[in-house]
């Protein structure tokens, strides 16, 4: 090779390195505490060359290891060896239902999908779900179940459950099924009857269907996530998505109750007022501190921004065509939970069952980020309420899922619930454990 040739050949790697460096200059996220509360700090959006991805490696819990809890609390495993538990649902008789589930899977559309799927799998997100509901029976209430048995299986990516008037409603990814069920029963053998179809395939990007019953039990509310991060699967795919549905329990008739909620991963009815609240996962890839996930009360007919805007009227330029009329309508959520925490769990407290500090408010499970550095979430927090509204700084309740060096993760919290004794039950879909947190003085 001549001197000239080798000089020319030398420029190519140099140019590629320069391009790579351009892409690698991704910024670090700031203090998440600035983004909790009614008015989170919002930086300017950025556009990336390299999609930001940062996930710890899933390692699980060694025998005897547990998450850490706030002072005055204790924690122990109620069940382990589960298949990707997502939701925990205590029944009036004390039995606890554990929904073991994962995404039904989707086909890649473009080169990026292959890479992103592999990265998320590192943190345990691709583990196979059980497609079943396991029942835990702790009749004496000491936190150690005497019975662990499969209540119903062969479900289709189930997520939300609700027991109302002799029926157990299960929100599969594509339909609500009703199973005749009396608490005390340990096995369901009859097939479920479909109450209503839910938006699902063929893409089904956000597959979970959160479910909660209204106070009087006449309606079921269902959270349906968007079919993309930010409409990159096309607007047609978003028909009826990113919304909260109201389903009439008697007839199965459904209507859209609220829209613009990108991924309403869990719903809860506020004790006392009966107001519907949701935790919503917001959009990715416009910065480590954009956009904060949120906890908000849901208004009938309310529109919460997605896809055209976030946190009220902050326009997202990635959506085309833009829609100023909808942006003007967008409601600002009640309470920011900081960016990319992936809130999946929501449960209102029931008085001072765990500690006086947790008398009024909501427990929120933060599954943890996959596209932010430093990592964010990976904990269960308590959001205090004042006069029925979320207010003030959050309190970490259960932490220690993530190793202190942020390189490995032992578990990731998903659904949260309070059992009949007021103990906090947590599904952990990487550790495959159900945790029970109670006051140190109690059982």
């Amino acid at each position: 090779m001549s001197a000239r040739t080798s000089r020319l050949a030398g420029t190519l790697p140099a140019l590629i390195l320069a391009a790579g460096a351009l892409g690698a200059c991704s910024d670090k996220g700031g203090d998440p505490m600035r983004q909790y509360g009614p008015s989170p700090w919002l930086p300017e959006p950025t556009q990336y060359l390299l999609p930001p991805m940062s996930v710890p490696r899933a390692v699980g819990w060694k025998p005897g290891e547990t998450p850490a809890v706030a002072p005055g609390l204790k924690i122990r495993a109620m069940a382990s060896g589960l298949m990707h538990p997502r939701i925990v649902y205590p029944l009036p008789n004390g039995d606890i239902l554990v929904v073991e589930s994962n995404s039904p899977g989707s086909k890649p559309f473009r080169p990026k999908d292959y890479i992103q799927g592999k990265v998320k799998a590192r943190a345990g997100a691709a583990a196979k779900g059980g497609n079943r509901i396991t029942l835990l029976r702790d009749a004496d209430g000491d936190g150690i179940p005497e019975l662990k048995t499969v209540l119903v299986d062969r479900l289709h990516s189930p997520y939300g459950v609700a027991w109302v008037a002799g029926n157990l409603y299960v929100a599969d990814t594509d339909a609500i099924l009703a199973f005749p069920f009396t608490p005390g029963q340990t096995r369901i053998t009859v097939p479920g009857v479909k109450l209503a179809d839910l938006p699902a395939g063929p893409i089904n990007h956000h597959w979970t269907k959160a479910l909660v019953a209204s106070r009087d039990g006449s309606k079921l509310y269902v959270g349906v996530g968007s079919n993309s991060n930010i409409t990159e699967n096309g607007m047609d795919a978003e028909e009826g998505r990113a919304a909260i549905y109201e389903v009439d329990r008697a007839t199965g008739a459904k209507r859209i109750y609220a829209t613009g909620t990108r991924n309403p991963t869990n719903l809860a009815v506020q004790p006392g007022t009966g107001t519907l609240f949701a935790v919503v996962n917001e959009r990715d890839e416009i910065g480590p501190d954009l956009v904060p996930d949120y906890l908000t009360s849901i208004r009938d007919g309310g529109f919460y921004g997605w896809p055209w805007s976030y946190w009220g009227n902050h326009v997202d330029v990635r959506v085309h065509p833009q829609n100023p009329a909808m942006v003007a309508r967008a409601i600002r959520p009640d309470y920011g939970l900081s960016s990319h925490v992936a809130t999946l769990g929501l449960a209102f407290s029931q008085g001072e069952t765990l500690s006086p500090g947790f008398a009024a408010g909501a427990f929120v499970g933060e599954h943890g980020s996959w596209d932010r550095s430093p990592l964010n979430g990976y904990q269960v927090i308590f959001v205090p309420f004042v006069n029925g509204r979320p207010s003030g700084a959050p309190v970490p309740v259960v932490t220690g899922f993530l190793a202190s060096d942020h390189r490995t993760v032992r578990g990731r919290p998903v659904g949260v619930a309070l059992d009949r004794t007021g103990a906090l039950i947590i599904a952990d879909d990487v550790g495959n454990v159900v945790w029970r947190v109670s006051a140190a003085s109690a059982h």
Partner: protein, 146 residues
């Protein structure tokens, strides 16, 4: 130029691979244009696949070219063609990253701009014959065949 020399040139393989990859990269300008005009995401997905395909063929072309140079089958590297193609490859690496963005900004404005520059560079390289090396001097024995 003798018939034998032409025969020697015709045996070069790298222009074939460069023309394949170049065609895919130029086609991405069309699919980018379609997305920018009708907003249907599938056109942007097409662009991403075309650019990835073009880059894989660029890598293959580089390997073939290096082999031909190493075996002494090709003549000296022509500076202008090399620079045109290398610039197209580097810009396409950036472009495929831009195309990983979600929705509108995967194409408008940066993606389609890069696609247009790449198409222009490749148009010139294509008209010049998709060839990076100079024609090789006819080999000695060939003279007798002429």
């Amino acid at each position: 130029m003798t018939g034998a020399a032409r025969e020697k040139e015709a045996k070069l393989l790298h222009p074939f691979f460069i023309s394949l990859g170049g065609t895919l990269l130029m086609a991405a300008l069309f699919t980018d244009f379609m997305y920018s005009s009708n907003g249907l995401m599938q056109w942007s997905n097409f662009s991403a696949w075309l650019i990835i395909g073009g880059l894989v063929l660029a890598l293959l072309s580089a390997i073939v070219l290096a082999t031909e140079v190493a075996l002494g089958r090709a003549g000296t590297i022509r500076r202008l063609d090399f620079i045109l193609l290398a610039a197209a490859v580097v810009l396409s690496v950036v472009n495929v990253l831009v195309h990983t963005r979600d929705a509108w900004t995967s194409v408008v404005p940066t993606g389609i701009m890069l696609s247009a520059i790449v198409a222009l560079l490749l148009l010139v390289a294509g008209i010049r014959g998709w060839t990076v090396t100079a024609p090789r001097a006819p080999v000695r024995q060939s003279e007798s065949w002429a």
